[in-house]
């Protein structure tokens, strides 16, 4: 595979050379293993993410990529090894877990907005109850981020009244309201209609431009090409290959990666 294989559906490409990656370590994972019962889902994962890095994790379904990022905010528990997020090690200690979770935002495949609360209430809930922000201030923060994802006019509606793309942008705004230092995206566009994928990706690109540390599990290779400074390919619970995107797409080293890329980009 020598010719450029990716046609980028994202119209805006950004100049990633301008975006600084600091030396400060945001996430450090050392020889981490996880089992579901007897099934070994994650095998000896080692990775370091620096503050400001934008990492795309891809791989076939069942390869453990979602499980990996869900371990980072302890939605899944790992059984051996070490995960240190922003200087806090994830152990059974509930205080540490809550601390990490309030620093790490997460966006889900199925949005998981709270259907009984308005868009604004969805966004202000965690700042008010976890950060103890006064309601008025929380409202202002929420409106700021809703404006940023370009749906301030929907603030008083309920999630059920919004389109999928709008809901996902609200979910991003909801996470941002906690002013997280790291954002995790678990297949954020997989449940969306094609015409809505772009609006969500645009929001994510905007975030990347502002220097947010991001880990995205996604099949949007155009997004990876445009934004990521590292692409990680996982298979059978292991990190098979990682490289900067140009090299990863144009010159994949492992046979498994070549097969995967030819399957998702082949048509």
């Amino acid at each position: 595979m020598t010719e450029p294989v990716v046609d980028i559906p994202v119209e805006r490409t950004i100049d990633t050379s301008q975006m600084k990656v600091s030396d400060e370590v945001a996430i450090q994972i050392t020889s981490m293993n996880k089992w579901y019962g007897t099934f070994h889902v994650l095998r000896d994962i080692n990775m370091t993410v620096n503050q400001g890095e934008r990492i795309v994790i891809c791989g076939p379904s069942g390869s453990g990529k979602s499980t990996l990022i869900r371990c980072i905010n302890r939605l899944e528990e790992h059984q051996s090894g070490q995960i240190i997020v922003d200087g806090t090690e994830l152990t059974g200690d509930l205080k540490n877990i809550d601390k990490v979770r309030s620093e790490v935002g997460m966006v889900f495949q199925h949005f998981n907005l709270f259907p009984h609360l308005t868009i604004l209430e969805n966004c202000t809930l965690a700042p008010i109850w976890v950060r103890k922000t006064p309601k008025k201030e929380a409202d202002e923060i929420a409106m700021h981020f809703l404006e940023k994802v370009k749906i301030p006019e929907q603030a008083l509606k309920y999630p059920g009244q919004l389109s999928g793309g709008q809901q996902q942008r609200v979910a991003i705004a909801r996470s941002l309201c906690m002013k997280p230092r790291i954002m995790l995206f678990d297949e954020p566009t997989s449940a969306l209609d094609p015409e809505m994928i772009k609006e969500v990706l645009d929001t994510m690109i905007q975030l990347a431009e502002e220097g947010m540390t991001m880990l995205c599990v996604t099949h949007e290779m155009g997004f990876a090409q445009a934004v990521a400074n590292r692409v990680i390919f996982m298979d059978q619970g292991q990190i098979v290959e990682q490289n900067e995107p140009r090299e990863f797409f144009n010159n994949p080293k492992s046979e498994r990666t070549q097969l995967f890329l030819s399957q998702i980009l082949g048509h």
């Binding site: 509930l94 309030s102 259907p115 809930l125 965690a126 109850w129 976890v130």
Partner: protein, 432 residues
Amino acid sequence: MSNIESQTIAFVRDTMIPEQAPPLTEAGAIKWLRENLFSGWFNSTLTLLSLAIIWWSLAAIGPWLVNTVWNAGSLSECRRILDGTGGACFAVINDRWHQLLFGFYPSHLYWRPVLALVLLFVALAPILFTGLPRKLLVFSALYPFIGYHLLWGGSIWLPISALLGFVAGGIAFILVRKVNGLAAVFAAVLAPVFWWLFLAGPFDSAMSSVLPLGLDFVRSDRFGGFLISLVIGVTGISLSLPLGILLALGRQSDMVFVKSVCVIFIEFIRGVPLITLLFTASLLLNYFLPPGTSFDLILRVIIMVTLFAAAYMAEVIRGGLAALPKGQYEAADALGLDYWKAQRLIIMPQALKISIPGIVNTFIGLFKDTTLVVFIGLLDPIGLSNAIRASTDWQGIYWELFIFIGALFFIFCFGISRYSMYLERKLKTDHK
């Protein structure tokens, strides 16, 4: 139309067709009749048959109701007035309504249960309707003590010292919370228990001797009729919901001890008929309690009815919890909400909303089950109707008493049902 297609595919409309009135069969009463009553030969037959049945029933019951005798001292007097024509004798209600409503509550004190009922609605209003000022909830929190004092009377210092126990718990919680969250919960439980066991009694008697305030004491065995149904029903309903929520959460808990206690409790209570629990309350508890303890029978029944309803409630709410997508828990976790905040703000509002029909079912069931207390000697409306029919004046009367009792229960149950439908409409945010 097909002409156009055969000639050419291109077509441009130059004149718009104006709107026209629908044909007669598509609007108004005729349309409604056709669609709802006479939409086919089978449904038309059913409609006619139903009309006939309604007519015959009215023809049979109508004169009986129309000829009602309202004023008579006994059934034989009724019959004399009716003089052979068929007619109801609602005079029995006129004669004995106070017993059916209040039992043997002293008649010069009827104002107390009536006031308690009126205040009950005042206390319920801010809970049921969110549009009212939130400050009214303070009154709702105080109502159990006010209601108790109005109904039973006695020294005013008894409910006040009971209330102070809760205040002590609250103060202990706030003080210890700064040190440790879990210790604060223990302190909040232990402080009131300590107060009630050791300090409440002396406080009560000391204050009573200094300032003897209070209402005439009314013993529990004077309670009866609809009053007793309401006291047991309302207390049971308001206690069984929170208890049921805790049991449902306990059953889902990861903590083995908490989980097994909840499972055993729920399965045991659900597996036993209510009437056995009531007999346990009335008879067996006396054997277990130390001799000489007098433990109010109504209180014992309330406890049993509450536990019974709570077990059912727990399962209804567990159904609601199970219906919530896992993503809701994950989103709450990912935002950093702790367990109790996630439950209170995210999980319970949705799970309870889903469970409303089941919860209301349990409420209504509980309220009607209060009539079972007749078997352990409490004089609820059914018990009193037996007593009334046993008197020489009203021997042989059935329908009128049961229609009256049924109507009273119906009003309350129908009210609960309508409120739940209003609540479901109000909480509907999914816009499906």
